[in-house]
Point group: C2
Chain length 286, copies 2
């Protein structure tokens, strides 16, 4: 993915820049946010955002602010997911999770801060680099929907609901379509908005992201990956393998991947990078 | 405050409307959000927002969406403040706090959801009632700043920092200027933005809110009020009384109140309602 490295460097540098420096009583705070932001994530969502912007005719840079906003939301969700009252994970990406490092209350606030500032970044796209106000307002609305109760947070509520009982296949699909796909959708759709894409482009981006998110989760189960937050097996939670069996889960992963890729064909060759990104993501190793 | 009741009714009804109805696996969620939103708050912030909009020449309704966004942020902050890792308060406004009612994880998510949807409401002001996109983008930026690490969340970080050591007067002022004044500022400034006020109007609104927030906190200490989240005395935390003594604290409350009211004089009689609201707030009984 050497081509992507140029983008990733821009993303990394912008992410840090969006955490304001603070002095006096507030000077410890930026470090707490940066600790989680710089935790070594793969930056899949901001990459998708910038690539979708290009794919509909914009410049990748036009989507940089929106891309970082989505990554702020993703990072806040990891901090809050790791909290003792949620998944109670002590390790995130090979280092102590935020609450192990800074204490539970500080981690709660760090997550709140990242979510709060995510929307501020979209506003800054207008005030700092002149992104059209209409686009920014639309991006705020979409990010709020995708991250809200009918999106990512909704998926987390369902996850909690099934903490002490086995989810069936339908629940798994519903939960992951919300918990995982919706933030991919946010990334892709915000990229299309930044690039000035059409309603058809948005429809394709949504469908791509929905399928990608499900394929991503099934693949996660198949790889029994230990990185990130996949401790379902240990928690005795339902997985695609426990519900469908390994063979059928593998077939489903393939089906959703094909569905995702098929949507990209609608972009007539301009989405080859995205296809490569999606396939590398789904073939990812532990 | 009978004049204000008309506004409060509009606010109450809009707040409920901004929590989307959900079905199926998500059907329990709106109730969790409404439980805290409908908890009987005084709606000071949304009232200030609508009144400041009027005061600079707009119609109160023009600020209704922004007003509700600020109240969503206020409500999320109360839910997260009450969590065991923060103030660990079991009671909020005379009923079980969110985490006592729904469990800690659900309360965490309910707070996250309210914060997320707050910004969505500002976007809806554009898509649903045609508020100018420029105003909405500006409102998103201001709300993010006032609620973020250099605002409300910053104040909460400082509060945590001084959990086990006594804050001095400077720290108290800094903390409350952030923790309390900044969300008043959000309310007032968003009202001025909605009403199309000038840079001078915004400056006055900011200064009014800063002084109001400090006066509010000192008055809280003086009343040793037990409602909302004031359990500082029990927690052995520094208060304006413990730091300055009762007599000096009373003088300070008066001074900050006068400063706040003086800023309103700049609005040449159009801020009489706001003055009444501020004075009733500062003279509030237990």
């Amino acid at each position: 993915m050497s081509d992507f490295n140029v983008y990733i460097e821009k993303i990394e540098s912008a992410l840090s820049r969006f955490v304001p420096e603070e002095k006096g009583e507030l000077e410890d705070i930026p470090g707490m946010l940066l600790y989680s932001l710089e935790g070594g994530g793969k930056r899949v969502r901001p990459l998708l955002c910038m690539k979708f912007c290009e794919c509909v005719g914009g410049k990748a840079e036009d989507a940089l602010y929106f891309a970082c906003a989505v990554e702020f939301v993703h990072t806040y969700s990891l901090i809050h997911d790791d909290l003792p009252c949620m998944d109670n994970d002590d390790i995130r990406r090979g280092k102590p999770s935020s609450h192990k490092k800074f204490g539970e209350a500080n981690a709660l606030l760090a997550g709140d801060a990242l979510l709060t500032h995510a929307f501020g970044i979209i506003s800054k796209a207008h005030s700092e680099v002149g992104t059209d106000a209409e686009k920014c307002v639309k991006a705020v609305g979409e990010l709020s929907e995708f991250a809200g109760i009918n999106g990512m947070i909704g998926g987390q509520f369902i996850d909690l609901k099934y903490e002490n009982r086995q989810a069936d296949g339908n629940v798994l699909f519903t939960m992951d379509a919300l918990k995982t796909s919706k933030l991919f959708e946010a990334a892709c759709v915000l990229g299309v908005i930044a690039g000035g894409g059409s309603a058809d482009d948005i429809r394709r981006a949504r469908s791509f992201a929905l399928n990608l998110g499900i394929a991503f989760q099934i693949t996660d189960d198949l790889l029994e990956t230990n990185d990130d937050d996949n401790s379902d097996e240990a928690n005795n939670k339902a997985t695609y393998i426990s519900v469908f069996g390994k063979k059928e889960a593998a077939r489903l992963a393939e089906e959703y991947t094909e569905n995702a890729v098929r949507e990209l064909d609608g972009f007539a060759g301009r989405a080859d990078d995205i296809k490569m990104l999606a396939l590398s993501l789904l073939g990812r190793k532990k």
